[in-house]
């Protein structure tokens, strides 16, 4: 077991610490709040020679991802980070990275999208990445962000897919909390050393010239995409494997989802990211009132934990999905649709409701989540009615 110590860190500091310990080969950086500070911390490590990383201050997020693809295809261990509009700007290249099957770590310090402009947290940016073929992990706090980044390197390289680690802008990125840090050697042994042959076709192996990014005509495009689809489904096992390996060095065992008081719960709330702690507090308060409620957090967002979620919801009467982004489509938030789809494979048919909350950094209190449970229960019991699956939890009338 590793040496561990507890120190006070912000989410961005914890992420920078993970980056330092991993000692990435290449980091492409471009400033955008609330991610900027992270790369500032990391730049200090570079400036002080505490890492070997070559940091490239590129001209924008589109170039950041293009640079990462070049570096990763060359054979280097590569990372970049962004937020909100920056993620939107790099989306074209996210598809290129996953199609080329290059391992890259992208930190998404979650931020809302314009307009109106907001530098604050919601998950709209991450929802742009959900169909890009990247693995995606959500972090509740700085501790999980730190752990997720360390695990992400290994997951990404084993799966040969790029990976996104999400943590909430400001709420996690700029808040200080107690974080348990592993020692450098343990982390470095866990991720393994740099080597271009970590990937099957490194560009830098000039003796074996390969072509990356060919054009595929209709006779091949489908086969290329089917292979990507097939291999992405293998990611579940790889993530589980890495979670297990990580438990051995850290003593912390993670799963695709985290269940809280769901054993006998009739009504279950589902959220991702930093609001889950608040949701757990809401559950505690309702439990004090004798209500049978529980909560589930989605940690592995892509590929979506369909089976695990269906099992966890198999006894529920009602489920309220708490989305930190809207889809503006009359059906519900992105997470709501994921949850609803997961339930297609289950015997029971719980009542589903969807609330949008926390947009553009709107703070969320346990009382508001308690209200979401109340509404769910009354809808399920037929005491109240609704016009849509989706409602806003916090809006001034």
């Amino acid at each position: 077991m590793a040496q561990k110590k507890v120190i006070a860190l912000t989410g961005n500091q914890a992420a920078a610490e993970a980056m330092r310990q991993i000692n990435f080969d290449v980091a492409a950086v471009y400033p955008i709040s609330p991610q900027t500070e992270l790369m500032g911390f990391f730049a200090e490590y570079v400036a002080n020679g505490e890492v070997d990383t070559e940091m490239i201050a590129v001209d924008g997020e589109h170039s950041a991802m293009a640079t990462c693809i070049g570096a990763a295809a060359a054979g280097a261990r590569t990372i970049t980070a962004s937020a909100g509009p920056g993620i939107a700007y790099m989306v074209e290249n996210l598809y290129v990275a996953s199609g080329m099957r290059v391992p890259i770590v992208l930190l998404d310090v979650n931020r809302a999208l314009s307009a109106p402009l907001s530098i604050h947290c919601d998950h709209a940016d991450s929802m742009l990445t959900r169909d890009t073929g990247w693995i995606s992990l959500f972090s509740e706090n700085a501790q999980e962000a730190y752990h997720n980044i360390i695990m992400s390197v290994k997951i990404s390289e084993k799966a040969m897919f790029p990976i996104i680690v999400n943590y909430d802008g400001y709420i996690v990125s700029h808040s200080i909390e107690d974080v348990e840090i592993l020692d450098d050697e343990t982390v470095r042994n866990f991720v393994g050393p740099s080597d271009i042959h970590r990937i099957p076709y490194p560009l830098l192996d000039v003796e074996k010239p390969v072509t990356y990014g060919a054009t595929a005509q209709p006779d091949y495009y489908t086969e290329c995409k089917y292979q990507q689809h097939h291999d992405f489904l293998k990611v579940y096992d790889i993530v589980r494997e890495v979670f297990d390996e990580f438990a051995e060095i850290s003593g912390k065992r993670y799963d695709f989802i985290e269940e809280y008081q769901t054993e006998d719960a009739e009504y279950i709330g589902i959220s991702m990211g930093s609001s889950f702690g608040t949701l757990k507090d809401a559950v505690d308060r309702l439990r004090e009132q004798g209500r049978k409620v529980g909560a589930i957090k989605i940690r592995l967002y892509r590929p979506f934990p369909v089976k695990e979620l269906a099992k966890a919801l198999s006894k529920a009467k009602g489920v309220v999905v708490l989305d930190r982004a809207d889809s503006f489509d009359g059906i519900g938030g992105p997470l709501f649709k994921d949850v609803a789809t997961s339930l297609l494979a289950t015997e029971n048919n719980p009542y589903l409701h969807n609330f949008i909350y926390g947009l553009g950094g709107r703070e969320i209190h346990e009382e508001e989540f308690m209200r979401a449970f109340d509404r769910l229960e009354r809808l399920e019991k037929g005491v109240e009615t609704r016009e849509n699956f989706v409602e806003y939890l916090q809006v001034r009338e």
Binding site: T67, A72, P209
Partner: protein
Amino acid sequence: MAKKRPIALLSELASHKETFGGDMPLAPGHRMCIGCGIPPIVNEIILAINEPVIVSNATGCLEVTTGVYPVTAWNVPWIHVNFQSAATVMAGVETAYKVLKKKGVIPEDKKIHFVAFGGDGGTYDIGFQALSATAERGHNVLYVCYNNEGYQNTGYQKSSATPIGAYTKTTPVGKARVGKQEPRKDLTMIMAAHGIPYVAQASPHIFRDLTKKTKKAISMPGFKFINVLEPCTLSWRFSPEDTMRLAKLAVETRYWPVYEVIDGKYWKVNIKPKKPKPIEEYIAAQPRWKHVLKYPDVLERIQKEVDEKWKLLLHLEEMSKKLAEEEGVDYEELFKVPEE
């Protein structure tokens, strides 16, 4: 039978071909148009480099016709990400090389060169931001623009490299407007203004010049840029056999001066046609453009642009010589290719 007289430089380039299993760097079987000028540019450049080369490519003619799944024409490691990123992708590869050398993953004595190719659309327009930034950061990359003065891969739309009066699908010739209204952007000058170690203009027809410029470029650390005119048989609408003839005529009419710039401050015009051919001859050979012969005002604008640019270049050359003298620098020595 005629006596065997191989040109020494071509003989030397031909011997380098063995590195690629006897083929050119760009193997046959690619789907370029009949008579395309791009493959000779690529081959002249890569054959001029006697060490391993990794290539990145912007989306465009060269890219869509050479790496068509499941086969590739490339005999060197090659990567294409998208339209605007050829420079920055290569920056990523080059940085990976640098850091992995530092970490001992790549042997210290392993020398690799990094070349990016983009058309004028991917270089002058959509890729300009990434190009400029990569130049500013000084990555050890040679960027080559094969400039066919328009978006040929999408069927000939105007780019900022398209000259005044030229027909394109987005600048047609009509009653109200005669082709493109604005003069072409001078990207070579803009790149020189970056103050990077080496910037040049070249023509594939003058292979001595282009291969020499390539050798010069790769001998200097940092970002280098070569702008190569590439007459496009398809969109300029001349017969495929005339590609190199037009590449030559562009230089002879001073429409495409071939010159080089060191550190953004020492300029040298490499070829000075003693009796420059009239621009009309060059224009008349291109159905995309020859309608301007009927419009004296447009023709005059074209000639004026060509003459003024030529004069400016000569002045810059003179000024450079004086500057070198003042600084005690050997002007001629600056442009020589160091021994390998």
